[in-house]
């Protein structure tokens, strides 16, 4: 594998909660709590996990859109963790993002062409004529009609609005595109169009993606590598094929088994691993394994010490005390 384009080490993003009572200590939301990963150039790292597990905060931390509590972020060999002002601004052209909601992420009073051109204006890229040519090229690249540059966001459908978002993100020719639930708000048919577009851009332009989704099937379709988050931590990280053939962490197994599928139907539901309760809160989480309260195979020891993220086979990392290698094969607690 070539040198990673993105390298994140021990990233932590904590938020202080407002004081409710002067008698109680201030609470901390450990939204992201020690996350490490690399993304090789031209590949896609998919991040899955339930609501509140910290996926968006990882993205915002990586892009330096929220204050990073600790850790290190390296993009293309440059440590950007502490980069300030103008230097960080210049780095932004290399890392762009698409957020979940294609409706609220576009200014309703600005024409589509101007929206797509805005990063070029802000970052001072190209001459006015070059910017115009670039916008035309981008509209074609994402499958929008050239004349639609003059329309306002409300004159587009949801799928077309997401295309505008994608075109805007591509404008400064970034190396990294962070996509946070880019298709979740779209109808199934439109979803396929946008997923196909993102895949084509990867093949054509060699873009590197951090792709966040709560949809396992979507991640299986787009990702080269998968990371599963639970309460601010990565509990499993593995190449796509290995992960989907045999997830190792009890949470990954449960999460995958919870997805209803066309072929699986009722049998799948009957074989499902049932998790009780909702994911607990990331406010002052208990010591030990964060999944212990819902884990069907938890042992008393799990509640005492936090499992480390361990490499069980080449590239397959898992944070669980009970996954072990016996006689050269990986044994899962849920087998």
């Amino acid at each position: 594998m070539s040198a990673p384009l993105v390298s994140v080490r021990d990233l932590a993003v904590h938020f202080a909660r407002p004081h409710f009572s002067p008698l109680k200590p201030r609470e901390t939301v450990r939204a992201v709590d020690g996350v490490s990963f690399d993304v090789a150039k031209g590949t896609t790292l998919g991040i899955v996990g339930e609501s509140g597990s910290g996926k968006t905060t990882v993205a915002r931390g990586l892009l330096r859109l929220v204050p990073v509590t600790s850790g290190r972020i390296v993009l293309g060999g440059t440590d950007i963790t502490a980069l300030g002002g103008e230097e960080m601004r210049q780095m932004r052209r290399h890392m762009q993002y698409i957020f979940q909601d294609p409706y609220s992420s576009l200014n309703p009073r600005v024409r589509a062409g101007t929206i797509v051109r805005s990063p070029l204006d802000v970052l001072g890229i190209g001459t006015p004529a070059e910017r115009e040519a670039r916008v035309a090229e981008l509209f074609a690249a994402v499958g929008l009609r050239p004349e639609s540059q003059h329309l306002f966001p409300h004159q587009f459908s949801g799928g077309q609005r997401q295309r505008i978002n994608i075109a805007r993100a591509l404008a400064p020719a970034p190396d990294l595109l962070v996509c946070d639930e880019p298709v979740s708000a779209l109808d199934v048919a439109i979803r396929a169009q946008i997923l196909n577009l993102l895949q084509q851009l990867k093949r054509r332009l060699g873009i590197t993606y951090l792709f966040i989704s709560h949809d396992m099937a979507v991640v299986k379709h787009v990702a080269d590598e998968v990371a599963v988050m639970y309460l601010g931590q990565i509990v499993e990280r593995a190449p796509r094929t290995a992960f989907f053939a045999r997830p190792l962490h009890p949470y990954s197994v449960a999460l995958m088994s919870a997805v209803p599928t066309v072929r699986g139907g009722r049998e799948r539901a009957a074989r499902r691993i049932r998790l009780t309760g909702d994911p607990p809160s990331p406010i002052d989480p208990p010591p030990g394994c964060r999944f212990a309260a819902r884990c069907p195979v938890a042992e008393p020891a799990c509640r005492q010490t936090m499992p480390e993220l361990r490499e069980m086979a080449s590239g397959q990392w898992v944070r669980c005390h009970r996954v072990e290698v016996v006689g050269g094969t990986i044994r899962r607690p849920l087998d």
Partner: protein, 332 residues
């Protein structure tokens, strides 16, 4: 299913229009559906196809004006709800037909406790006194898997997680042991592990009480897992209806085939990352429905006839009907 199922709900010719600015939107067109006791009917289709409107029409809750039910019959328990006096409908709603609305936050009152909201229906329909209603509310919260129900009963909606709110909605909908439960996208906003819990609960309830269930969703996986029969809606019409197994193994309408093929498959041995099948374009506007097949402008198999004339409904096999010119005269 064994034996002849008793039909609970029999909808035929249901049409709903909205008007505004001198124009008319044909939101539902000649919809026909049936649900038997102990049966789950799935309704699937893209946004705006009329799924929620069908549910609202069953309870005569179509906002009117600007909406209007312009025709059809909705026979429930031998009675046409469209002809029944409003007084009668009030007894049906929330009592004999339970409904879980699409947006849980908008259907729970933020200033009333969970217990007050649950009790209200119980007092109204089952004529329980306040104490009995409270006890029953706690029982219901327990039945839907809410931990510490004695405490939760006095909490307000904002104090609950999304999953718990949805369970409260279910508790409200089943409080009076309805014969029919309509669940409009009951898990769309929830995590899959919580969705699995909600589905488990709905399956249990159905098995225990023999109620009929209408489950509205846009997820074919949910259809496969939860339903006995499925109606695919498009442009305010039911374009295909069949036993779930038949529709998944042999979808006859090009739109149904598209809906199944356009999503990535988690069960595939290996996902090659090859392009997904796309359904080009988007759903037609209800203000401007074509006179022929509503799917014609997106259909790869469309013929000149499709644009000119509405396709007739063909019966392919027992309980499998489809409205598509390709299938005309192919029935048994």
């Amino acid at each position: 299913m064994d034996g002849a199922p008793t039909t609970l709900l029999d909808i035929s010719g249901l049409s709903v229009e909205f008007s505004g600015g001198g124009r008319t939107a044909r939101v539902l067109n000649d919809v026909a559906l049936t649900v038997a006791a102990n049966e789950t009917l799935g309704i699937v289709g893209e946004s705006g196809c009329g799924k929620s409107m069908t549910a609202l029409a069953i309870l005569r809750l179509v906002p009117s004006p600007p909406g209007r039910i312009t025709g059809g019959r909705i026979v429930f328990g031998g009675e046409d709800l469209l002809q029944a006096p409003e007084q009668r409908l009030r007894d049906v709603r929330g009592h004999r037909i339970g409904m879980i609305f699409q947006e849980p936050m908008t259907s729970l009152n933020p200033v009333l406790t969970i217990g007050d909201q649950l009790s209200e229906t119980l007092i109204k329909h089952l004529k329980l006194d306040a104490r009995a209603a409270r006890a029953r509310s706690i029982e219901l919260l327990k039945a839907v898997g809410i931990p510490a129900p004695e405490r939760r009963v006095d909490e307000y909606p904002h104090q609950l997680s999304g999953g718990m709110r949805q369970r409260v909605m279910i508790a409200m909908a089943i409080g009076c042991e309805p014969q029919l439960l309509i669940a409009d996208e009951p898990t769309t906003a929830l995590d899959v592990t919580v969705q699995a819990q909600i589905f488990e609960l709905l399956r249990e309830l159905r098995a225990r009480s023999g109620m009929g269930l209408i489950l509205i969703t846009h997820d074919m996986g949910v259809i496969a897992e939860m339903t006995d029969r499925v109606a695919v809606m498009y442009g305010g019409r039911v374009v295909e209806e069949a036993p779930t197994a038949d529709i998944l193994s042999a979808p006859a309408h090009p739109y149904t085939r598209g809906l199944i093929a356009c999503v990535p498959d988690l069960d595939a041995e290996e996902d090659s990352g090859a392009d997904l099948l796309e359904i080009a374009g988007m759903v037609p506007s209800v203000w401007d429905l074509p006179k022929g097949c509503p799917f014609a402008d997106r259909c790869a198999e469309a013929m000149p006839r499709c644009v000119a004339e509405m396709p007739p409904t063909s019966v392919l096999s027992a309980g499998h009907r489809v409205a598509c010119w390709l299938q005309e005269g192919t029935g048994p």
